[in-house]
Amino acid sequence: MAIKKSKHFFEDELIETIGEVSEEIYEQLPNNKDLNYIGKKISRYDGYEKVSGKAKYTFDIKLPNMAYAKILRSDLPNAKIKSIDISIAKNLKGVLEILTYQNIDDIDFYGENGKLLDQHVKHEGDEVACIVAESEKIAETASKLIQVQYEKLGFSTSIEQSTRDNSVKIYDWGNIRNGKPDEYERGNVEEGFLQSDFIVEDTFTTEVVIHHPTEVHCSVVNWEGDKLIIYDSTQGIFEIKKSVSEYLKISEDKVQVIKKYMGGGFGSKLEAGKYTVLAAILSKKINRPVRLAVDRKEMSLATGNRPDSIQHLKVGVKKDGTLMAMTHEAKAAVGAYPTGGGCSWPFKQIYLCPNVKTIDFSVITNTGKARPFRAPGHVQGTFGLDSIIDDAAYKIGMDPLEFRLKNYAEKDQVWGAEYTSKLLREAYKEGAEKINWERRNKVPGSGNGFKKRGIGMATQIWWGGGGPPAHANIEIKNDGSVIVYSGTQDIGTGTYTIISQVAAEILEIPIQKIEVILGDTDKTPYGPSSGGSTTAPSISPAVRDAAEKMKRKLISASAAILNVDEKELFYSLGSVSDKSKTNKLSITEIAANLKGQKLFTEGSREENLKGYVAQTFGAQFAEVEVDTLTGFVKVLKIVAAHDIGRTLNRQTLENQFHGGIIQGLGMALMEERIMDSDFGKMLNTNLHDYKIPTMLDIPEIEVIIVSEADVKANNMGVKGIGEPAIIPTPGAISNAVYNAIGVRVKSLPITPNKILKALNS
């Protein structure tokens, strides 16, 4: 073990970390077909608890003498509080305490752009006060009794409004984050366009979409003396520990964060929310446990979203299909507090092109702050990119798939790094075969009848290699049972299950013998936040490291027990024996001999290979049927073919792909935040009006994994799959719609009104 500084991608950000890494070098495991647990369809470790209702989610946690908090939120998009009167609310029976900007410590939030409770509210849903009471109902009733006088300010809720000449300045420094766009350039695009035979140029737009995980954001907090215990529905227990201690200005050691089960996050639960900090302050004040859960309307307004995009794209291409130059200029509404909304990464990375320029503006608006959402930027960016690439292919009369193969990048184009592996060609080939690509309309829109079918595809690139620090410890108890501890968390993706598989595989014991404990900052060693498709590739190698070390420790213990040299012993199927097998000790027997001492090993993720970048690749192919009389798009089939390294669990892998594809389908065809521009308020704040796919919208989905193990990625050969699953879905569906009707709908979601308009034009 050694402490190292290393870098890897988390979401779309290259992060630098310092931490302990494993220096052990292990042979790559055999292919999945020769393994017992890895790669198989193993039922979920926590499946029984979940389906039987025994699993306690944060939302379900009840502590003795617990009080309930609710947040009063602004119903105006931009306003200063002139006065706030809590006297009537405070007198309501059962109300315990009320926090407002007037009686709370001055705590910065969102960098220095706001306060925990701020006199200036910058979007509908911004926090105004927090009430704690004997019941949630009382807290809610009290929130309506608080009298707030506002000074209404002008507002902007869209990219257009925020970037006009006379637009309202939301901050003194303006409405563009950092005052300027994020830019990237390689080669010389002007020259590239001059060398092109054709230039294709167009504008594509996507709408703001909301994460809406099944479990709402919530925290249950309690102080035990000066120690704060937080049960939180979070994607990162250590992140919450760190940031809550900073907000409260207490030692990190005085904060414990626990999360056992979670109903999804999709990126919206990566950062600490104001609700957690407010609950902690209230809990301290009233000296009781406090629960604060937001409702679906608050989820719509104030717990994050995927920014919209207006992407102006231009592509120069030679007659033979060689891409010569590409430019991307995009704007995204990131909400009232600065954060990144760029979507140009796929544009820089996927297709081979010497001359590329990208410009991304993150535009401030009086709407809820954006947060990372399952492949931030990539989903909207890939929709734009693969639309213009499709257009370019049709323009020069080339098969769109052949066009993509013609511009295949063997190496990373941004840093010049080698890929640990890239099996995109294989993904194209197998995906095309499965969808039967040749059935597509060679001339888009050429099908007969009112119902027209079409086939389209799009490419996926993402990181997902993970990296250190990520730790897992293994303990063997006196009865021989095995426990794996890791400070990562299972956000619903199956982390418990894959950890038990890796431990069982390496220790060669039945999977039922493995217990997995995750999600407790006091009990488990540091694990990274569950985001960026990094959990499996960061944690599974650490589990392997701990298990391999445990095997050696078991040999060492056996040597001592048997009075023989370690070299004469070997480990197999949960036992240590010598070659003749006359001396043989099972794990249980070894443990029993240790008289109360437990066997314990610490495993860590190794460093990533220098000079390489681990990325995931894939292609999705969609077949759709468009009713040209009604404008309704029915997705018939999605084939998803991906290079994601080694499959750990075929069942949870398929679940992840289904989830990602369905979420992508929602964004492609129906999901959008609807704003009223007169009032600056969101109109569809419930799950009926905010339309997510229903069972009837879900097509046949076929998942093909073209990779065996990415041996250069890590000791397990694993890459992440959470985000790759969603990235190409909207682009593939949109290209299939174009192939069906011969007119391109350039704005998501592709709703019937847009199809009818396109067909009429």
Partner: protein
Amino acid sequence: MKTFEYMQPENIESASKFLTKNKDSIAFAGGTDLLGLMKDDIFSPKQLVNLKKIGDLNFIKYNENEGLRIGALTKLSEIENHNIVKEKYNVLYQSIYELATPQLKNIGTLGGNICQRPRCFYFRGDYDCIRKGGDTCFAITGHNKYHCIVGGDPCYIVHPSDTAVALVALNAKFKIFDGKNEKTIPAEEFFILPNVDETKENILNSGELLTEIIIPPINNNTVSSYIKVKERGAWDFALVSIAGVFNKNDNKITDGKIVFGGVAPSPWQDKKINDNLVSFNLTQENIKKLSSLAFEKTDVLEMNEYKVTLAKNLIIKLLLETFNI
């Protein structure tokens, strides 16, 4: 939701009397719409009058001479699964099939579906809109993709009920009880436009209850169908829907009736279309011509012009699919 009293009258007379006397009370059938409105504080009744204890409003009766009679408290799923409805009244069956999720149909009633309130964002949100007694229809300058293209002034809601569209097409009659007397009126006279009263969608006054839906018998030459265009596969209200009931003879419609949903604050008929259905020759060319006659006069808003195209297209789709052309 604010606190309320829960009343459980055992017969329709006492329910009706109570509702007449207590202006802040409201009738409660399946509750799939009402409870949502109450939770969002759009309505805060002092008393909720549960109708479900009234036993004799839950029935489906069929007789070849009199047709189909359905009690207003009959659950939508029971009607959907009724053999006679499936066999003879396809338009009604399809309108229920399309209208919601199984969970909602298992609790929602036919009477409640007909009397449900509009889905307009402004009506259901924190806006003092004209339908709630204010003086502005915010949809006119606001988000109006889902609003009406005809019959709107001064409130541009669309009537949300699928069954209402099918029942008007079937020439159904509605029985109304006012506490003392019963009257039966044609379904199409039940619904009113905002220029009559912008605060309600039908003629019912407080204390009046819709008790029964009577659908005339159907002869062997009658075919009927309902098509609903939504933005997703299930659990969505119509962008535009269309119901058609036709009598046919060989390749000819002898007479028929087409009714639209999602285009107006009530189920909507285009007189020109229905007049043209008399002795209508079912050719592709005629169908296209018929479609082009529809919706001559509309009052479209910024985002809903597509509904004109959609409604016209649905005439074509309805006839092509109903008659397998």
